[in-house]
Symmetry: C2
Subunit: 201 residues, 2 copies
Amino acid sequence: MSAVRKYHHGDLRAALIEASFDLLAEAGLQRFSVAAVARRLGVSSAAPYRHFPDRDHLLSAISATAARDLRAAITAAADAAGPDPADRLAAVAGAYVRYVVRTGAGFHVIYAADLYKIPDDTRREQTRALMTTLLDLASATGSPSYEEDVLFVEATIAVAHGYASLFTDGFFARNGGTVDAIAVRAVQAARALLAPSPAGQ
Amino acid sequence: MSAVRKYHHGDLRAALIEASFDLLAEAGLQRFSVAAVARRLGVSSAAPYRHFPDRDHLLSAISATAARDLRAAITAAADAAGPDPADRLAAVAGAYVRYVVRTGAGFHVIYAADLYKIPDDTRREQTRALMTTLLDLASATGSPSYEEDVLFVEATIAVAHGYASLFTDGFFARNGGTVDAIAVRAVQAARALLAPSPAGQ
DNA sequence: CCACCATGTAAGAGGGCTATCACTTGCTAA
DNA sequence: TTAGCAAGTGATAGCCCTCTTACATGGTGG
């Protein structure tokens, strides 16, 4: 029952997913490999295949976990942002930036094109729940239609993903930008997006 | 002198860069490889190494070309946008989205972290010129300081890069979003960013 | 108690990529 | 005309990756 076992790991499946986030945060999706995750855990490179039939199924599980955790982070950030619906939606951008910088698993991982082929009910459920949460936050701003909600969500995620990508690419490294500073800027930008005509309504 | 030569290619160096953009647009930086570019041109996998000492030097040349072309596209878009400085800066987002979707070479390629190691005066000059152009467009909006210009540029690029990334990741595929539609949304979002308090000034 | 089975390992096939090396081709300058 | 050089080629070493196969281990239910 100890956390570290000799031969039988205990819960290698969960450990693989967790280690995958570390690898993604450090090396990015570009250098992600099943072998590297196994190496990081000190198990053989064949071990992961006892839990996932192939690389894409591991990525699918990572996507599901990321969608669940990101959704939790977003919900928490929105609640911490106060009652104003626009503030709550803008807070999503901050939560997104922090989550992506910490885990390396943004929308490019969660909604990776290759995953559509893979039937994984857990992932589909989690990604759908994430999107529903986002749309609910958008809807609360009093937008006139579902289509408008979608546009709000897209814009918020776009600005957040842009800031997160530029950060992980080292674009702000020279200017001494910290994660927190970038997250704040992302929130401010998202907030500005949601106030196109503050004089009107 | 014909465009297609048998043994000696004519200008393989330029052809490699051009083919690299096609590959980047189709497969992304993730699946980019020197071997694949050579294959695409029908030359041996050793041929590129006659023109670039290694993979990173090819990527550096790609970065330089992308910076030059993106800068041209941005300048043209700004000029087409009319006299309003905010409109001109917002137009950058549209040009960026279109360029990245067409070539696959956005800021993640132009300012890729690994390239800092490589001394390539052409690239450094082109990337600096690109940044200067962006900062000039930001400065023209009447922002109070250089630091503010930087923030405007970052925000504009972030939203554009976010939209472009989501598009190339296939995120809009389901909603039937075309490049043009996404580019327009990116411009609208960027424009909204630049009008935080239209009542004030 | 012990047989079974989930879960690990070692070894390796098969494939792609980077980069090098010796060799070949053919343009060009003297 | 021809020597020399720039720019190709084929072959290959070396690396890492994905995934498979046969075998090892040890927890657990009967």
